[in-house]
């Protein structure tokens, strides 16, 4: 076929997007405006407005009826009245349950993050230093659990740690008494470390794989022992990776609900669970909303730290 043949020009191919374009111009919309408007509109309606609604409802009081909270705006004899209640927030600071729940969430998230770092760092380093043909396979082995259902991994872990679980059966072979692991804070730590380990390894790996080997050699040539080289060369250089990985574990761990409710005991206090109970068990929507707003503030601080760490990486 020769489309260059002057006598038989190829028929212009009909392309659907020409029609898309013509349609857009017909209704007076530029493509650019539409590209921006569609996602922006969706996020405004289903992300920003809901947060505003939560904030509004956190300033109401629980009541019986539908909806189960007092109205923010009331019209009485032609005047619109705005009624705001701060009771929910005052309670968050005065009721020791909430203060304890926030503190204990932060403690559990912090300790698990440190353990995850201690386990994840050597793994990320080993993968980064492994031969090329191994590296992709090992990375895939890290990512695979991340794709596997979160809920099912927590469940798998509970089968592992329960009274007659695999660990205790194994210990039983050596005559060790069964350990009580389930329904304790210990199980919650293990659960967080187990499920969030890939989040720690991946950013650390991306950081460590870029590490210049000649710096390590130089350090060794100057007589530094491996531990010294690690502490004064590798560790400082991998700081952005450490911060990014730690935040990726710490931030979601604070709001965790599934892990404490499947692995933790009745005494395990985490704020995500408090919010859940406040909403579903006590059906106190205004208080649940206030707990959510306060939790958001707790989470925003580490997010800003993460942002700064990432900006530091970009600047390098």
């Amino acid at each position: 076929m020769s489309s260059f043949d002057a006598e038989h020009p190829a028929p212009p191919r009909r392309r659907p997007w020409n029609m898309v374009e013509r349609g857009l111009t017909a209704i007076g919309l530029s493509g650019k405006a539409l590209v921006i408007a569609a996602p922006a509109l969706w996020l405004a309606i289903f992300f920003l407005v809901p947060l505003a609604v939560v904030f509004g409802i956190s300033l109401t009081l629980k009541q019986f009826g539908r909806p189960p909270y007092t109205p923010l705006l009331t019209t009485e004899e032609g005047t619109v009245q705005l009624t705001l209640h701060l009771n929910n927030y005052i309670l968050l600071f005065t009721d020791s349950l909430y203060v304890a729940a926030y503190l204990s969430s932060i403690r559990i998230a912090l300790i698990s993050t440190i353990i995850t770092l201690c386990i994840g760092y050597p793994m990320a380093y080993a993968i980064a230093r492994s031969p090329d043909r191994w590296r992709n396979i090992l990375l895939m082995l890290v990512i695979l659990p991340f794709w596997t259902s979160f809920l099912l991994r927590v469940y798998a872990l509970s089968g592992f740690m329960r009274g007659n679980g695999v660990i205790n059966q194994f210990l039983g072979l050596f005559g060790v008494e069964p350990l009580v692991m389930m329904q304790t804070d210990f199980a919650v730590y293990v659960g967080i470390v187990y499920t969030y380990l890939p989040f720690m390894i991946l950013p650390l790996y991306t950081n460590l794989v870029k590490l210049d080997g000649s710096l390590l050699e130089a350090s060794a040539d100057l007589g530094a022992r491996p531990v010294r080289t690690f502490l004064s060369v590798t560790l400082p250089l991998s700081m952005p990776g450490i911060i990014a990985g730690s935040m990726l574990v710490f931030i979601p761990a604070i709001g965790e609900f599934v892990i404490p409710s499947l692995l933790g005991g009745p005494s395990t206090l985490m704020i995500g669970r408090v919010l859940w109970d406040e909403f579903f068990a006590n059906t106190n929507w205004p208080r649940a909303a206030a707990v959510a707003i306060a939790m958001l503030i707790v989470v925003v601080v580490p997010i800003m730290l993460l942002q700064r760490a990432q900006d530091a990486v970009v600047e390098r």
Binding site: V53, I127, L152, I254, L262
Partner: protein
């Protein structure tokens, strides 16, 4: 540099920790015994029992539908958002859009779920829509957070290839829409595939947000699994988990193959 013994051992232990619970779960799904952790012989009876559980099958089908629609809508919106952020350098509200699209990634699920439910309740009271909650509200909720992941994945791919190809097409007289479909779309196709798969998986996996925004009679698979697990470990959940893990492993292999195949093309570009 001399290779030490510490790193390989630490990595091996780490991988054992990651995989031991999953492997034991798969093994015990073929266990004859009613007791979850006592081995009494090979059997596939728990898999047979799954096929009889109508509640579970309904929930699984519902979850697959929700995941399909959420991932697809999120793919379109997320891609548009990524194009806007990478290709249009300056427009009003750029920072707000960039921040808002990334926010669901770090937002605790309980907050997202609560916020969307309160929105739906308020909308129902004022607009009369959505009346009640079910698949539609779950799809909306899942689309919102899947969109964040699609945007991140597509964004990095878009930033990777330089805009000169698009400019060249434009110089040759192609309209912006045509440039997008003829040049941009084929190049970012692998990112679209992995973005969609990521959204699909995350939607299938979500328990917390779906629990908030679902109504009576619209339980998703994770919600059914969660209530089963709460009542105690039952062997048929092991079988179900094994099936899901098998599917996910297949999916990840498929996605890897797609990405490997796209590599020579990328080299040519």
């Amino acid at each position: 540099m001399r290779r030490g013994w510490f790193l390989p051992i630490a990595a091996a232990l780490g991988f054992a920790f990651l995989y031991a619970p999953i492997v034991s779960l798969v093994i015990f799904s073929f266990n004859e015994s009613n007791l979850v952790t006592v081995w009494s012989g090979f059997s596939t009876k728990w898999y047979g029992q799954l096929l009889q559980d109508q509640q579970l099958l309904d929930a699984a089908w519902r979850s697959l539908q929700i995941a399909f629609f959420s991932a697809s809508i999120a793919l379109v919106l997320g891609t548009l958002c990524a194009v806007a952020l990478v290709r249009f350098r300056r427009f009003r509200g750029r920072t707000v859009l960039a921040g808002t699209v990334a926010a669901p990634l770090v937002m605790p699920d309980v907050i997202t779920g609560l916020a969307l439910l309160l929105l739906f309740v308020a909308m129902e009271a004022t607009l009369g829509w959505p009346s009640g909650r079910g698949m539609v509200t779950i799809i909306i909720a899942h689309t919102t957070f899947c969109m964040a992941y699609v945007t991140v994945v597509v964004q990095s791919r878009l930033a990777d290839f330089d805009g000169s190809l698009e400019e060249a097409a434009q110089d040759l007289g192609a309209t912006p829409v045509r440039v997008f479909f003829d040049i941009t779309l084929p190049i970012i196709a692998p990112a679209l595939v992995s973005g969609w798969l990521l959204g699909f998986t995350l939607s299938l996996d979500d328990l917390v947000i779906a629990s908030f925004v679902s109504g009576p009679g619209s339980s998703t698979l994770p919600m059914v699994i969660f209530s089963k697990v709460r009542l105690g470990v039952s062997p048929d959940v092991n079988a179900l988990a094994t099936i899901i893990i098998g599917f996910v492993a297949l999916g990840v292999f498929a996605a890897t193959i797609v990405q490997l195949r796209s590599r020579p093309k990328k080299a040519r570009v």
